[in-house]
Point group: D4
Chain length 132, copies 8
């Protein structure tokens, strides 16, 4: 377990800030920290994501090499987020899948896409030492 | 202060994994968690950054809309990282600057570039409530 | 999880400080921090509630727009408090109910009334990310 | 120091949700957790405040018996919030004052008023054991 | 949950320091912090107990008004200690009993006696809010 | 630093529960958890002290072998308590003194007496490793 | 539970740093902190192990008197590490065994050998108070 | 900062358990957890060191490749331990020295020798990120 006062921050492009708000706050349940004319800043699972108004989005997003998300320590947190994403009909880029079965790196994952095609992967490892 | 068992993770492209290792581990002092043929995974200030072997890098990087980094709660942590970056001659994309003076959002920042042109911003706010 | 040294504080009216003591300390199991002629201060589930001697109470209390309480992270804590309220025959303004079923905001709640008609709501959400 | 997973919650009336947003989020730097047609929910210094659309506001607010706020453990956090309130020209109901000097309960305080006349008191005690 | 850097300390009489060591360290599994000619200091479940060489012991100990011990948050910790006391045949002043059944203060308890007749009570409450 | 959910508890005699309340709550700033006809229970610096109505008090108290108190990690916490004890004119059994100077066990201490002659020692060690 | 900012460190010999890397990082899942010509430094379950290039290894290792490892608080963490060691075919010096059954010190253990014959013991006690 | 329930453990040889006790407990201020005929177990700065009765000690100890110790996060903790080692005239294998000046790895260190020639290094890095 980690006790931290520092915050990871990630800046990503957003074509439209209202859509970004709808996806991250109303949809994903993140908290809005600040709103300016050209960006919104979010408390994203305890770290910070900033959506900058920009046209430089990925037209045809692929999972590699760019995506972000959260690796949960507890499986029930991963399942709750999956349930929330279904209940609120967020856009799935990849349905839940099971990867690397039979190895220490075995994990479960699903991938969402925000309205500007940023990809968000949420994972759970059976062995939490593999989270890094 | 936050106590967390979950990990933010970010995937970015790397043209060369040895160069990525040299920048993040030998340079920036991050810890290498795993190394595979196509990627390295890093404990990046307590969260996870994964460098995926890829040619899709930014040829002409700009700070907006894509970058990532850490916002430090304590100024001395920001200054220690700046000192380390100078001592180890990491590549600066932007020298330290002071922004939004005289407002609550006042902060200090500098920006590094990794060997694949990913931009890393490190910040410190006078008022830690503005970190999000 | 949050680590905090700061305290939320809430001041509410009380017609009679002995009655307030009987409800909050003897009944609800809060701790008395200080007692003065015109108020008592309470450690209310880790935050502070102050009961000020005052005649400005709500004669016909309604749940909206004014009430306060605790949202528990763990269901068993909510159930223990419900059991304590029943064992000690505290006054229920609303019996336990189930709200927003089938949505992410689904939660359980009950509402107590203190002797000065202040309403206290105690909740538990299936998805703790909805606590805010 | 307290480690908590539970959340204090307080519901207060708001004549206008946009004004409430402007005061609490844009002004005071709280995070917006959720927005519905009839209320907004806020992460208020780690606890929850909900602003319910309502006309039942105090026309002539007085500090007693109803107000709420935060007692800070560290003086610099109290001073930072005071600085933010001045920089962003929030409405002061009471300018900073020094109370109970020469006693153990000695503290500093100031009081803000939100657009619906809810009063918010922010305090700092020289002896943190007096926070309750 | 509490995060603390401070230590409760309790001084009690001991007729014989070797016997005290045998009971507290070899028996109860406490850690010896320091040993002087006239006392031993112990890390007693995270707090400090000091056994001072003295003849002023209770010849006919009674549970009231003087005893000390630990109230465990988790039942399994209470049961583990009970098991250890049985395995190591520590002296029971009172066998495990169930008290205040059907009330919020319901708890389980057992009492040990150290070689100098100091009484140690170990408790577990069904509702941890009753620990104080 | 210790994170604990368990509570040390100590039972001591009190000739008069109102006097005990006056000393521990009104004087020393401890919180009253529960009050019964024959005892009061206190949150004493995060642990529990119970004052049992009893005539078995020490008529001529001595510091050894029985006393209890708190060893503070931070000197300013020790000094704040000393200041509070002076401001509220609590009864000193021993004025502040400096002990074991020039050794690792060097510390500062003062001793209060409650109305039933229980002795309370409050200490601060220059080297916090000596707290046990 | 312990909150710590300090790090235990242990230096051990390694005949070959690549082999040490293969065992500790690729095998055991520790993180590489730094690599120099004559040593690698590892984040070993939160503490630090340093492998120094050296020929002074034990040719015929025995468990006593020199070995190191981790005692896990939770049995599932011990079992996950055992599963990882099997999946990645690390070298077992001693297969899992059960020791001191029927005593308070009862525990489970297994022992691995690194490529330079350093022995690593991983344990789990039924009663976590016996971890020391 | 790390929150941990697990314990690093290290076994080292000791020619004589009373001497080991004198060095580690009476000298270094570690806590004795358990004593058996063939070993003592110690709470060594929060982790576990076990001294096993053995004749396999190093006759001519060298700092590399085998030693152990603690890297302190705060300089004052390192200085307090140095002061304690001097006051209690523990055996220094290496007087305090300053190493790698002008680099990020800059640190201060001193080395003690226990009565069985095990070497203990205590360090402090100016940049705590270099502790691993």
């Amino acid at each position: 377990m980690r006790t931290t006062q520092d915050t990871f921050h990630l800046a990503v492009p957003a074509l439209d800030l209202d859509e970004a708000f709808a996806f991250y706050v109303t949809g994903l349940g993140c908290k809005l920290a600040r709103r300016y004319g050209d960006r919104i800043t979010l408390d994203f699972f305890g770290d910070q994501v900033v959506c900058h108004l920009s046209e430089k989005i990925d037209q045809e997003p692929e999972l590699y090499p760019r995506h972000f998300g959260v690796t949960f320590h507890d499986r029930e947190d991963w399942e709750r987020l999956l349930r929330l994403a279904r209940l609120r009909t967020l856009r799935f880029f990849a349905e839940p899948f099971h990867r690397f079965e039979g190895t220490a790196e075995e994990h479960r994952s699903f991938v969402l896409a925000d309205p500007s095609n940023n990809l968000l992967e949420f994972k759970y490892y059976d062995d939490p030492r593999m989270m890094y």
